[in-house]
């Protein structure tokens, strides 16, 4: 499969390029970026058919593309690629609005192309195991959930687009929350009935967010996200017969505590790189005309939920975030 990488920034260099160059099924035939310094650097390292700044010129060399550009360009570049008949694996979020997601989904269907989104967490064996435990009711019915994920932001972003609302679409909610919401909706395929959402955005993008979610079957839970502080980094699911704990930052282990007594059981999974698994699944879906494990529809559902959060947004009730009378 001839693949093109559009966007060669931090995520491309940290995740996609290492994965693309180690896979035997994939030929990295094009690298596109607007930054000439990055291109110069990469042209010394990789020998692709095309290394340059034109998305359309790269099309002659590829069957499918990975779109790894800043969030606000996901829609326009994915659209151009789909219209040119290329399969697309888009970095998360699929787009920064659900309307854009819908248009991309429609285009992919119209052209009979695969459109996948990099919801890499689905490729963790532990996450797949959780889905199975819930679906098969191995620990009974789910009662509640409590997810916390937070580390101090240190992503080596070159352009700083993460902090520009128009370019990023939001802050920690769309950045990390899109993974969390995707897993939540994948594990618990119910309709969301109600959301209470608070964050610390003072006119830029939020760095700390709390969402209280209620599903149509009255199942309730909390999600807390931070890019300013270390949180517990624990996804806890309370079921009738036990509690599941999973740390998304140490994803190879799953902790299960039975409510009938005994200490916690630790399940360990041999885990290949989630990006490798994502790429393999994307290629497989093209070659076998199957639905990717992280499809565009999944990306759309996560963005819909994020939009609901932003619509119901309230400022965190913290005194240090409130306006006071005029400063001295």
């Amino acid at each position: 499969m001839k693949i093109g990488l559009i966007g060669a920034g931090a995520i491309a260099q940290k995740a996609y390029l290492p994965a693309l160059t180690t896979s035997s099924h994939i030929a990295l035939n094009a690298i596109v970026d607007s930054n000439s310094q990055i291109l110069n650097h990469l042209s010394n390292k990789y020998h692709s058919g095309y290394i340059g700044d034109s998305v359309t010129q790269s099309f002659d060399y590829v069957d499918a593309v990975i779109v790894a550009v800043p969030n606000y360009l996901h829609f326009s570049i994915s659209k151009t690629c789909l219209e040119a008949g290329k399969h697309v694996l888009c970095e998360k979020p699929l787009a920064i609005s659900s309307l854009e997601c819908e248009e991309l989904i429609h285009l992919a269907r119209e052209h009979s192309l695969k459109l996948a989104v990099a919801h890499t967490r689905r490729f963790y064996k532990a996450a797949q195991n959780i889905k199975q435990i819930i679906a098969k009711e191995e620990l009974g019915k789910i009662i509640s959930f409590d997810f916390e994920e937070g580390t101090v932001f240190s992503w080596p972003t070159v352009s700083g687009f993460f902090f520009d609302k128009k370019k990023a679409g939001g802050g920690v909610l769309i950045d990390i929350g899109v993974h969390v919401f995707d897993l939540l909706l994948w594990w618990l395929p119910y309709e969301v009935k109600h959301i209470d959402y608070q964050d610390d955005n003072l006119g830029g993008v939020e760095a700390f967010a709390i969402a209280k979610i209620e599903f149509s079957n009255d199942l309730k839970g909390n999600i807390k996200l931070s890019r300013l502080s270390e949180l517990k980094n624990r996804y806890r699911l309370q079921l009738e017969k036990g509690i599941i704990d999973w740390d998304p930052l140490r994803p190879e282990k799953l902790y299960i505590r039975s409510l009938s007594g005994g200490s916690r059981k630790v399940m360990k999974f041999k885990q290949e790189s989630s990006v490798n698994a994502l790429l393999s699944n994307f290629i497989y879906s093209i070659e076998n005309n199957s639905t990717p494990l992280a499809s565009a529809e999944d990306g759309w559902r996560a963005i819909q939920l994020i939009e609901k959060c932003y619509r119901s947004r309230k400022l965190l009730p913290l005194e240090c975030l409130q306006s006071k009378e005029e400063s001295p």
Partner: protein
């Protein structure tokens, strides 16, 4: 001069104090400041505000000139906090010189330099005022701040309207050492009341410091002046850390005698050496075991952490015994500086710590 009417440039805005200046300018005055950003990876807190992040470096005069273009007030809070001492010195001294020279060239109306009481050295007298002579000490941070102050003063002689602020122990939301560090410290048994160790802490709440910096831009009579900024209360270190222990739901520390403290110190050293040696042999198993213990026996793990931490370290005893107080009389008189009580600052800080998941 009212800050509200000014275009403001902040260095160190991705840090604790500069970040709070940017927040307060926006929240209280509706000012969208220009903020110098060297690495976007540090900018998550600042990204919550509608500020202009201007990419640049204190050591690159061209980038700095572009970044501060059109501004009238400068709050210079950046300092070198890398692992490289000579680079830190260069950032603090050459960086300050670059910025102050540009500020002078462009006719900046007020240049507020955030220094530190570290300029008085590690063993200051019992009462320190702005008139107290600076001490040359081994602390590179204090020495570097003193040199940067001199650079500012030299430019003031040429006409740069400077004000120098020397804060004490600054706590409050996002304070890396005296709030986040303090709560983490007490949570692992890092504080104890040692018999005879009862120094003065001189804590100041971050918003009081920011108030003083805003006040420094208000009056022409304060140009060229230096101000010590501390809190309202004369607080001991024991009271300071006990307040964090209360926030964390921990009991008050019991008094520990000096001989017992010495024993505890040696015991924790031995324990730490054992853990280090075990980790060299079977690191992942030890970490797994620790997590297992934490999951199944959380209170035992806290005790273990506390034994490993060993309370106050030997080299900290001198610092926590100092009885120095820093006078805020000059700031009160000339700036109208009026800090809140420690309890009030702590109440807001505790609320923040809870929300952000530190406790």
């Amino acid at each position: 001069m009212k800050i509200k009417e000014k275009r403001v440039f902040i260095t160190g805005a991705t840090g604790f104090i500069g970040g709070r200046i940017a927040e307060r300018l926006w929240l209280d005055n509706g000012i969208k400041s220009r903020c110098l950003v060297r690495k976007f990876s540090n900018a998550a807190r600042l990204g919550r505000l509608p500020v202009t992040m201007t990419f640049g470096d204190l050591l690159n005069k061209d980038s700095l000139e572009k970044a501060m273009e059109g501004c009238e007030v400068v709050f210079h809070c950046a300092y070198g906090n890398t692992n490289d001492t000579s680079l830190n010195r260069e950032i603090n001294e050459q960086g300050t010189r670059n910025l102050a020279e540009l500020a002078f060239m462009h006719g900046i109306k007020r240049f507020v330099y955030l220094s530190s009481v570290a300029v008085y050295g590690s063993n200051p007298p019992e009462t320190v005022t702005e008139e107290t002579p600076l001490q040359v000490c081994n602390d590179e941070y204090g020495k570097s701040k003193a040199r940067a102050e001199k650079i500012c003063r030299d430019l003031h002689k040429k006409g740069l309207p400077i004000v120098i602020i020397r804060p004490t122990i600054v706590f409050g939301p996002f304070s890396p050492i005296w709030t986040i560090g303090a709560i983490k410290r007490v949570l692992v048994g890092g504080w104890e009341k040692i018999d005879g160790v009862d120094g003065i802490c001189n804590a100041v709440y971050v918003d009081d410091l920011v108030d003083s910096m805003f006040l420094s831009t208000r009056f022409d009579k304060v140009v060229g002046e230096t101000f010590i900024i501390s809190g309202l209360n004369t607080l001991t270190w024991n009271e300071f850390f006990t307040a964090y222990m209360k926030v964390a739901g921990l009991p008050k520390p019991k008094i520990i005698s000096r001989p017992r403290k010495t024993l505890k110190f040696y015991f924790s050293n031995v324990l730490r050496a054992c853990v280090d040696a075990s980790r060299r042999v079977a690191n992942s198993q030890i970490i797994d075991f620790y997590h297992w213990m934490k999951d199944n026996y959380p209170s035992l793990t806290v005790t273990f952490d506390s034994l490993i931490r060993g309370g106050i370290k030997k080299n900290e005893i001198e610092k926590f015994s100092l009885r120095t107080t820093y006078s805020i009389n000059k700031a009160s008189r000339m700036l109208g500086y009026s800090p809140r009580t420690f309890e009030e600052g702590m109440r807001v800080t505790a609320d923040w710590l809870k929300h952000y998941g530190y406790i």
